[in-house]
């Protein structure tokens, strides 16, 4: 029961946070000194056309009315219309979100594999070439701007070596797999389209690794530090003295006791990846939320800006809620 009460409280907070995000984004978007209707109507538009567009966008209403209307529509699952294309924002997000989601999932998988294993290796082999190499890589990853890394990767792996494609989710001449989840790696697998799966896999490599380079350092360093702290604990010496194999000592005892800060970092990073993917998506022409968000901001297209902000905020708070709920699994002393 205590768990359910805790869960209810967290979901209440989640709703409050989302309402705050909606209100803040609404206010910020509307105080920007610019006329979205003029932008949407086009540069050649005459005043009558701008007025038509203003009416279509609902901008001829007072601000509180616009806000109230937005909230009411939001509760009905309606995020409004994209002013430039006149398509529902929900439909647009459904088109763009899977690409971003797939990129984040692949990056997170590599992030956990390389970050945690690398961090453990660096801690175990403290002072060795493994440790120094891991630290050098993590420092390098933090120091290099992702935009620059992306272009360097394109030059090396696409233009020079011709190993990997520079842009897109699939080769231009390939049709996407039948839509099931919108994740090409999953959909092509389900459809048994191996060629498409391979093509999708090579296309996701450069953007995922670029995202990884900038983020893996955090978890690697946290894992290393947490493991080193645990190594100093008496129960580790006891475990070794009992004759347990080094593998069991490291992976079952030490890593589990280091898991709380690592999990926290993974949760935070997953949230940041959703927003961090935006720049990477633009460089690699990855058809996710990135370009859609940038274009919408440049045109002050309010409903898509709100939609993208909501989806990123929701991903952030949901992932962190899941991480919080996972704490008792790795540390039985934590009880909700």
């Amino acid at each position: 029961m205590r768990f359910l009460a805790y869960l209810a409280m967290r979901i209440g907070w989640l709703i409050a946070v989302m309402l705050g995000v909606v209100t803040l984004t609404f206010l910020i978007t509307n105080v920007v000194p610019a006329d979205p209707a003029r932008l949407a109507a086009g540069l050649e538009a005459q005043q009558a056309q701008v007025d038509t567009m203003r009416h279509l966008m609902g901008l001829d209403q007072p601000l509180p009315v616009q806000y109230w209307n937005y909230l009411v529509r939001l509760l009905h699952g309606d995020l409004g219309l994209d002013a430039r294309s006149q398509r529902p924002v929900v439909t647009q997000l459904a088109e763009y979100f899977p690409a971003t989601f797939e990129l984040v999932i692949v990056t997170m998988t590599l992030y956990i594999l390389l970050g945690v294993i690398g961090g453990v290796a660096a801690a175990v082999e403290r002072g060795s070439w493994v440790d120094k190499g891991a630290q050098l890589l993590s420092l390098g990853g933090l120091a290099m701007p992702p935009f620059w890394v992306a272009i360097v990767f394109q030059v090396v792996f696409f233009a020079q070596l011709h190993w990997l494609p520079a842009t897109g989710r699939l080769s231009a001449v390939l049709a996407p797999p039948p839509h099931i989840t919108g994740l090409y790696l999953v959909d092509s697998l389900v459809a048994g389209q191996w060629g498409t799966w391979c093509d999708a896999a090579v296309h996701i490599m450069l953007p995922a690794v670029t995202l990884l380079v900038g983020s893996v350092a955090n978890v690697l360093r946290i894992t290393r530090r947490a493991m080193l702290q645990v190594f100093a604990q008496p129960y580790v010496a006891t475990a070794r003295a009992k004759g347990l194999s080094e593998r069991i000592v490291i992976w079952r005892h030490c890593l589990r006791n280091s898991a709380i800060p690592i999990l926290t970092m993974i949760g935070l990073q997953a949230g940041y990846l959703f927003s961090g993917a935006i720049i990477i998506e633009i460089v690699f022409s990855w058809p996710g939320l990135g370009k859609y968000a940038v274009d919408s901001i440049a045109n002050l297209d309010f409903p898509p800006i709100m939609g993208v902000t909501l989806i990123v905020a929701a991903a952030f708070v949901l992932i962190n809620l899941l991480i919080d709920l996972a704490y008792p699994l790795v540390d039985p002393r934590i009880v909700y």
């Binding site: 086009g42 696409f158 022409s285």
Partner: protein, 525 residues
């Protein structure tokens, strides 16, 4: 622990090699009769009644056709060529335009071009009243006189009308009727589908990724020659990536190669540069209602203080030409004048005549901040103005804020100067001069300039049906503008396109820079 490291490395190698297990794709290879274009933006809608921005135009020219268009390289009305119309008559009062349509033209939905389709297309565009609908504001009614004859009646004479029709694409009336829902004129359907008569028909549109079009087998001009049979218009937002793709041959043309990259690519035999005179003019507009720019002598001083050569050679790498008038020389109505010269002594003298011999005032210049050449140009200008005792405050703004700042209701809050790039919408000087210099214009390029004489001449030019009389009026307007100096025509944009070497020929659409007439593409081996 070493074994963990070894496994980790092995895992990375497997992950890196796994995709090649079933694929032998070599990235960057050219692909037969496929033409791939990289575009910085994608259309937001495929509806020809609404799409008017550059990404839309780049798509519409492939799938749709207008009644008439300018022949490549010409803007003269006498060289206007029929596309869906074979000929046309204009009544002596300039109010009735009768078009004789090309027989045997098929739309992509299988229906035939007829007068009803022209009528529906024009009325639909006028009713929706977005995009390029402004060119139809004088249209009173459209009548299908016979299956292949259509008559458009105007409420008042509008001489550029025939040129403006190059922006009006004809859609299949059958498609409009079939897909209309609740009187929406099929807007919902046309957003993602097409029913044009152009050389290419839409096969697929993957939002945020690419559009694929294929040659329409029944296209009326036929397919002899090495035309591209498949078009892929890919979204590649980053110019640096566009350059890599063109260099590698993975795309055949990109629309946003930077001037620096164009220069760098000249060394590369895998690409081919095509350069032709453009029609777009790069102005520095002056706020003629805000002191001290209300004084024409101060404005003329600024003309003499702009470092044209530094801008042209240092910033634009010679990829533009010096402007010698308010219109590009490609217009038959262009009034040829001497390009403005940098002359600080003359600037000082003009300022002295205006009572500002030591300068002593501050001006604000706003520019679109992603454009490097605007930022660098404004810094060069600020350096020169400092020599005259004038402080130039620079403000780089995003597009939305720039538009708002420029049209602030309080004139004191408006900037003094703004860079303005203008490409003619259609082949008449009206499409540049009217929105920019007519006193009541709401176009963003208009910067408070008002001269009743210029207004009267612009109005008169719209009513003047005789081409030579109209040319004389436009020449007078340009001379008046030169005297009034509401802006500085700085440079003329040359159209510079970079293609992969296998593209042996491609025409640029007449008025628009960076829009290729895809049908004219010829591919080599």
């Amino acid at each position: 622990m070493r074994s963990v490291c070894v496994r980790l490395v092995a895992l990375c190698v497997i992950l890196a090699l796994a995709p090649w297990a079933g694929s032998v794709t070599v990235f960057g290879a050219p692909k037969g009769d496929l033409f791939t274009a990289a575009q910085r933006n994608q259309p937001t809608t495929l509806d020809p009644a609404i799409g008017s921005d550059a990404p839309s135009t780049k798509y519409l020219i492939a799938a749709y056709e207008p009644l008439v268009r300018n022949r490549f390289g010409t803007l003269d009305e006498r060289h206007l060529e029929g596309v869906l119309a074979t000929s046309w008559d204009i009544s002596s009062d300039g109010l009735r335009y009768t078009f004789h349509l090309r027989p045997g033209v098929k739309f992509h939905d299988g229906s035939q071009l007829d007068a009803e389709s022209v009528k529906v297309s024009i009325e639909r565009m006028k009713t929706i009243n977005l995009g390029n609908a402004y060119v139809l504001s004088a249209v009173q009614e459209v009548n299908a006189v016979s299956p292949l004859t259509v008559q458009i009646t105007l409420s008042e004479p509008y001489a550029p009308f025939i040129q403006a029709l190059t922006l009006v694409y004809i859609v299949s009336s059958t498609a409009v009727k079939e897909h209309q829902v609740n009187g929406d004129l099929a807007q919902g359907w046309f957003r993602d589908h097409e029913a044009g008569s152009g050389p290419y028909r839409l096969d697929s549109w993957q939002l945020g990724q690419q559009m694929q079009l294929s040659a329409f087998p029944d296209y009326w001009r036929g397919w002899s020659g090495n035309h591209a049979k498949t078009l892929i218009l890919r979204l590649v937002a980053e110019p640096a990536t566009q350059r890599l793709l063109v260099q590698s041959g993975e795309v055949d043309w990109a629309d946003s190669i930077t001037t620096d990259d164009i220069i760098a690519l000249r060394q590369d035999k895998a690409v081919r540069e095509q350069r032709s005179p453009g029609l777009a003019v790069f102005y520095l507009m002056m706020n003629t209602k805000k002191p001290p720019l209300t004084d024409v002598r101060v404005r003329q001083a600024l003309v003499a203080a702009f470092p044209y050569d530094q801008m042209l050679k240092g910033v634009l790498h010679g990829l533009m030409s010096p402007a010698n008038g308010y219109l590009a020389p490609g217009f038959p109505e262009h009034d040829h004048g001497a390009p403005a010269q940098f002359d600080l002594a003359r600037a000082r003298q003009l300022l002295g005549d205006a009572g500002y011999s030591k300068g002593g005032f501050t001006l604000t210049l706003v520019y679109f901040n992603p454009l490097d050449y605007e930022s660098l140009g404004s810094q060069l200008f600020a350096d020169q103005l400092q020599n005259l005792g004038i402080t130039l405050k620079l403000q780089g703004l995003p597009w939305a804020s720039l538009l708002q700042r420029k049209s602030d209701p309080d004139i004191a809050q408006e900037p003094d100067l703004v860079f303005y790039n203008v490409t003619p919408g259609f082949g008449s000087p009206d499409s540049i001069l009217y929105p920019t210099f007519y006193s009541k214009s709401t176009h963003w390029g208009h910067f408070n300039y008002a001269n009743p004489k210029v207004d009267a001449m612009l109005d008169q030019a719209r009513r003047t049906l005789n081409a030579s009389q109209r040319t004389a009026l436009y020449v007078q307007i340009q001379r008046q503008l030169r005297a009034d100096t509401p802006g500085i025509p700085l440079m003329l944009w040359d159209i510079v396109n970079v293609y992969s070497a296998r593209v042996t020929h491609a025409d640029v659409a007449s008025t628009s820079a960076f829009v290729i007439d895809y049908y004219t593409i010829q591919l080599g081996q």
